[in-house]
Symmetry: C2
């Protein structure tokens, strides 16, 4: 299989100044630009010289996850047998599989120890998985807006999105239109009711812009969701969406046996988990529960909270608060 | 047009002992059985002799709303011009239109005054609309889990559901499969994360029962949602779902001008509004805001709250608490 990745800064001899950045569901291996000429990344301003993840000190790696569509092998990649896309022949994958690929990449790069593994949402799941599956290699974890295990409500949101994609496929579509619907739903869970109220209220769109259909776009909030859906369709693959949401559903740190927890304790990994007060996807209460359950298993864990109107996506939007957590985590 | 309705109890001479019961999105004109032989209704146990809406004292009416598919004219009804279903020729309707039909029915029945208009969710919107559009006729309103105006987040949930139905229709389907998806999403917003956690946790279904597909049903919560979607498909029309969700989106008491508010003040209508502490569709905070905004307009209004793990649907499930509110509202 192939793995797309990007690095920032230099790995010191001995390979102990590395930080691993894990991306979320539709992210890629490009958290930040590599210079002024380069395109901005999804955590722009967080990675670079003098920035929270300071490339003068740290060697920073971000790789596109297994099952995605930004260069790493996924369901849209050619099957080695016939050169045609894997499609549903692609096997179901877990966050454990995603991290196993990252471990292989870390070995290839000569990394011996990670000072920090950091990520939000699906990225938080990967960061936590790193601690349990490679405890000798991981010094610290910063998990933003992620749970100990996917809740049934989080599974439920994902399942509705998947059903929209599957309906589209079964009706002869490519799945793209269904994925736009899945994204519209997901965007509601990534933001907050208060943010929608502030941004959109009950404002309507210009009626002359809508289709003549009786169920044309009417409200600004609908226009926003449609726009978000269409944007994702241009950049993401519906089958990757299916596989990665299922990997999120299956995430449950409790699947690790006592042996893995014992190794994590002996490895001395320290975990910081941050909730977002307005998050409806992985509510702050679930992140507090994550910390509690880590502590119950003897893992040093601390809880932090980001205050934001933006909901789940605050880990991408509230750069000052998130940057401050990076500094705090690195000094654990 | 035709209107399906049911009545319970007897209308006194003078027509002043009437109570109007308003149903929610997919409800019908049958809130309760009319006797032991009859099928249960959606508010079974709430309407009958000696029950919270006591048929020995009150004449109780419930009618199927305009645009629905349980006997009242809607998009699936025959168009008078050609006898074929209206389909999208059916005009967009509002909660105001729904209540206008109910007023005509009330007149037909000889009702002069309503001691109470009560409903939850879309039913709450109708009950509030009654107060503003027929203030001389309405003595009291009990609005359960309904807002002053649909929030942009509530519009957003509805729009995702509509898009699933429209996708299905555009791909040559009947809209039923899309409506199942819309219902799956709606059910998440009708219940609470805590309830899902208690009921389903991360329990999986028996793998031998699933389809061989890689995205077969895996979790109990998915099985529950699929079941709810399939159940609605057997009993509701996708176009009614489109029209009625849009009517909900358009609901905004603020559209009534000062003249209507002045009439409501002079009419002396008293309003009780009850939120549900775990409601994520019309959160308790929005119901408190409704009461505040009514008071600001000089309407006597009180706030009550139902404590429940069940979320929005608590107004259907928590019969003891809801029944107690009926009694309290009738003694306002």
């Amino acid at each position: 299989m192939e793995v797309a990745f990007e690095t920032y800064g230099e790995l010191e001899e001995g390979g102990e100044n590395a930080i691993w950045v894990c991306h979320a569901l539709t992210g890629d291996a490009h958290p930040a630009s590599h210079g002024e000429e380069d395109r901005p990344g999804w955590w722009e301003g967080m990675v670079g010289p003098g920035l929270p993840l300071d490339t003068r000190k740290w060697f920073i790696v971000c790789s596109n996850v297994l099952g995605s569509c930004y260069g790493t092998t996924g369901p849209a990649s050619p099957h080695p047998g016939d050169g045609l896309p894997y499609g549903f022949r692609f096997p179901l994958i877990t966050v454990g599989d995603i991290v196993r690929v990252q471990r292989e990449l870390a070995r290839y790069l000569g990394i011996r120890r990670l000072a920090l593994v950091v990520g939000g949402s699906l990225g938080a799941m990967q960061a936590l998985e790193w601690a349990l599956s490679a405890p000798a290699m991981v010094e610290r974890v910063l998990a933003l807006a992620g749970p100990f295990a996917s809740s049934p409500q989080a599974i439920a949101w994902n399942e509705v999105g998947r059903q929209a994609i599957l309906l589209d496929l079964e009706r002869g579509g490519t799945g793209a239109r269904g994925m736009a619907i899945a994204r519209m739903l997901a965007m509601i869970t990534y933001r907050s009711g208060d943010e929608f109220r502030m941004r959109f209220g009950r404002e309507e769109v210009d009626p002359s812009l809508g289709e003549p259909h009786p169920f044309r776009l009417q409200y600004q909030v609908e226009s926003y969701l449609h726009h978000q859906g269409e944007k994702l369709v241009r950049r993401f693959h519906p089958l990757s969406y299916l596989y990665l949401t299922r990997a999120m559903d299956d995430f449950d740190l409790g699947r690790h046996g006592e042996e893995a927890w014992e190794k994590a304790r002996r490895g001395g990994v320290k975990i910081m988990a941050a909730g977002i007060d307005t998050d409806i996807l992985y509510p702050a209460a679930e992140v507090r529960e994550l910390v509690l359950r880590l502590k119950q298993r003897g893992i040093p864990a601390v809880y932090e909270e980001i205050q934001s109107i933006h909901g789940h996506d605050a880990f991408l939007i509230e750069k000052e608060a998130t940057g401050a957590l990076f500094a705090k985590a690195l000094s654990m």
